[in-house]
């Protein structure tokens, strides 16, 4: 294991986030605050309680998840897409490092940034509503697993995309809708039976539900189902990445 190389990629990626600190950290915090103002305070005041917690507190885990998924995907995809786009990827490919180490550096940095952002959003939310976290370790586990999995997904998108349009396409057309329809702002109990069944096909439901369970001890689906889905996701993402590197897809002609 070439730890020096991994560290170099990791620190360079973290430095890139710091260079664009406004875009990387401030904007998610601002947008999350806006969600709280609109959904938490304005609309939430008309909704009494969901699953035994106040609406403002109910949406906290979902909001963190929303931010976590979009940030993980966009950071990781841009991180590997940009060297491909600018041509500096030659250096990564010619370096004495394994593919696993390349992924570890890029995805590790993207996931770290997402987890930090998640914690910042959590802190921001605390300013608006009061809530408790029943299982903090499970919460952290979900935070890390989700950040890791969606950073891997972002890495895949960053390699698949051959232009800026495609880079935006998956986050915009798939990740964001799935998150909004994934029980971020509502409990799926509120939906008619048919749509409940459809919703259960949405993997994000399991992530939000599991994450919410770690806060309040209850979710739309069982915590085990949530853990199984996230692990499955992680496995699929790893399999795709190992295929990418084995075949040299879009990296090595």
């Amino acid at each position: 294991m070439n730890l020096q190389s991994v560290k170099t990629i990791y620190l360079a990626e973290m430095a890139r986030s710091l260079r664009t600190v406004l875009q990387s950290i401030v904007s998610p915090v601002v947008s999350t605050s806006l969600y709280f103002v609109v959904f938490g305070a304005a609309i939430g005041s008309r909704i009494s309680e969901v699953d035994g917690v106040s609406y403002g507190a109910f949406i906290v885990p979902g909001l963190i998840m929303l931010m976590l998924l979009t940030q993980s995907v966009s950071t990781a995809s841009f991180g590997i897409f940009f060297p491909r786009f600018s041509g500096t990827i030659y250096e990564i490919l010619s370096a004495p490092i394994s593919y696993f180490e390349v992924v570890l550096g890029y995805v590790g940095a993207a996931a770290t940034k997402s987890v930090i952002l998640g914690l910042i959003v959590l802190g921001t939310a605390r300013l608006f509503v009061s809530f408790s976290i029943e299982y903090p370790l499970v919460m952290l586990l979900f935070l890390i697993l989700t950040a890791l999995t969606f950073s891997l997904l972002g890495f895949i998108i960053g390699i698949w995309a051959d232009g800026f349009e495609k880079l935006q396409l998956v986050p915009l057309l798939i990740v964001t809708p799935l998150t909004f329809l994934g029980g971020t702002f509502y409990s799926i109990d509120m939906l008619p039976d048919f749509w409940q069944a459809v919703t259960l096909l949405n993997p994000v439901v399991y992530l939000v539900s599991g994450f919410r369970w770690s806060f309040y001890g209850s979710g739309d689906v069982s915590i085990w189902a949530s853990l199984a889905i996230i692990t499955l996701f992680l496995g699929v993402a790893l399999a795709v990445i190992s295929w990418i590197f084995r075949t040299g897809y879009r990296l090595k002609p």
Binding site: T8, S86, I92, K252
Partner: protein, 334 residues
């Protein structure tokens, strides 16, 4: 230009080398039966065999699209070979890619860089990426040698094209490679910068770095290289010492400036392959230095001239440039 004088300790030292004698030990690069067909069926390399000696400057010469960059890319790990093998200092570049790649520095053709990073950061990044611990003294040496030291805190987007090229060289040298690949180092570079680049390359060679450069400027190969390989349509059509190449394939011209102009080549000289030029003021005799053992025929020609009483004012000889050799070569094999 004092670039080469500045280059003192910037290369090697982190790997043992096979003694430094040219030809000693394992070759620096050993390419065997290397072929590459791209996905669209284009055959970029066909069964290429090539041995690069330690410490030499090897120029890979060929027209655009001949396969120069593909060959370099396969050796450096940017492109997968279809068949064949590459060994770097004895290490296979696929099964022992770590050992192979840490010996290589690559300067790509395109001026690619991260626009918002500083010179210092990007060169330090390259060193770390190659798994080497921080070494600010070495980075400083490299930057000074390439006259980039004053620009170390500048962001790359603020630099001129020539400086960006030097930054790419600094990045490639940051991990003290034993062999440096320069893909078209002087493409689109003005004359002064080109001379400067040559100085840098010579300075590196003097430290024992093996250098492989691609170029389609014959002048560059002629100026720089110890050996020259000519690649055409994916085939290595020739690998030769530059001096041998010049000697073997070169044709020489002897021009005789005449005291009084002639209307035609005199019958007495018809046996010699002469051409009358400069409106009858000069006779040009072409001979092939490939067959020196058979004699050049110059002695006979001069004797016959003496006999006809034609007075010669002056004479000079000229050897064909590599460009002419190259053109002849490409013409012959088509």
């Amino acid at each position: 230009m004092t670039l080469s004088a500045n280059l003192a300790p910037i290369a090697m030292a982190e790997h043992g080398t096979a003694g430094g004698d040219i030809g000693a030990g394992t070759p620096m690069i050993q390419v065997e039966r290397l072929s590459k067909a791209y996905g669209d069926g284009f055959q970029a390399l066909k069964e290429v065999d090539l041995t690069i000696r330690r410490g030499e400057i090897f120029a890979l010469l060929g027209p655009n699209g001949a396969g120069k960059t593909t060959l370099i890319s396969v050796i450096c790990g940017l492109v997968n070979a279809t068949s064949g093998s590459v060994k770097v200092d004895g290490f296979d570049n696929v099964t022992q890619y770590r050992e192979a790649r840490e010996r290589i520095g690559l300067v790509p053709q395109e001026l690619t860089n991260e626009a918002f990073t500083t010179v210092w950061d990007t060169v330090s990044f390259s060193r770390g990426l190659f798994g080497k611990p921080k070494d600010p003294a070495h980075i400083e040496n490299v930057l000074r040698a390439l006259t980039l030291w004053d620009k170390r805190d500048n962001r790359l987007l603020e630099l001129s094209g020539g400086m960006k090229r030097r930054v790419l060289i600094a990045k490639a040298l940051s991990h003290k490679p034993q062999v440096l690949f320069l893909d078209e180092p002087t493409a689109g570079v003005d004359v002064e910068l080109r001379r400067e680049m040559w100085e840098v390359v010579r300075g590196l060679r003097d430290q024992g770095v093996t250098i492989i450069l691609t170029t389609h400027y014959i002048e560059e190969a002629e100026e720089m290289a110890d050996r020259i390989g000519v690649i055409r349509r994916g085939e290595l059509v020739l690998v030769e010492e530059k001096s041998t190449l010049m000697r073997q394939l070169g044709r020489k011209e002897l021009t005789l400036h005449l005291a009084t102009p002639l209307d035609a080549v005199p019958a007495a000289l018809a046996g010699h392959d002469l051409v009358l030029t400069e409106e009858g003021h000069a006779l040009v005799y072409t001979y092939d230095v490939t067959h020196l053992d058979e004699g050049t025929g110059i002695a006979g020609l001069l004797a016959d001239l003496e006999a006809t009483g034609i007075r010669v004012k002056d004479l000079h000889t000229r050897q064909s440039s590599l460009e002419e050799i190259f053109v002849n070569l490409v013409r012959e094999r088509t």
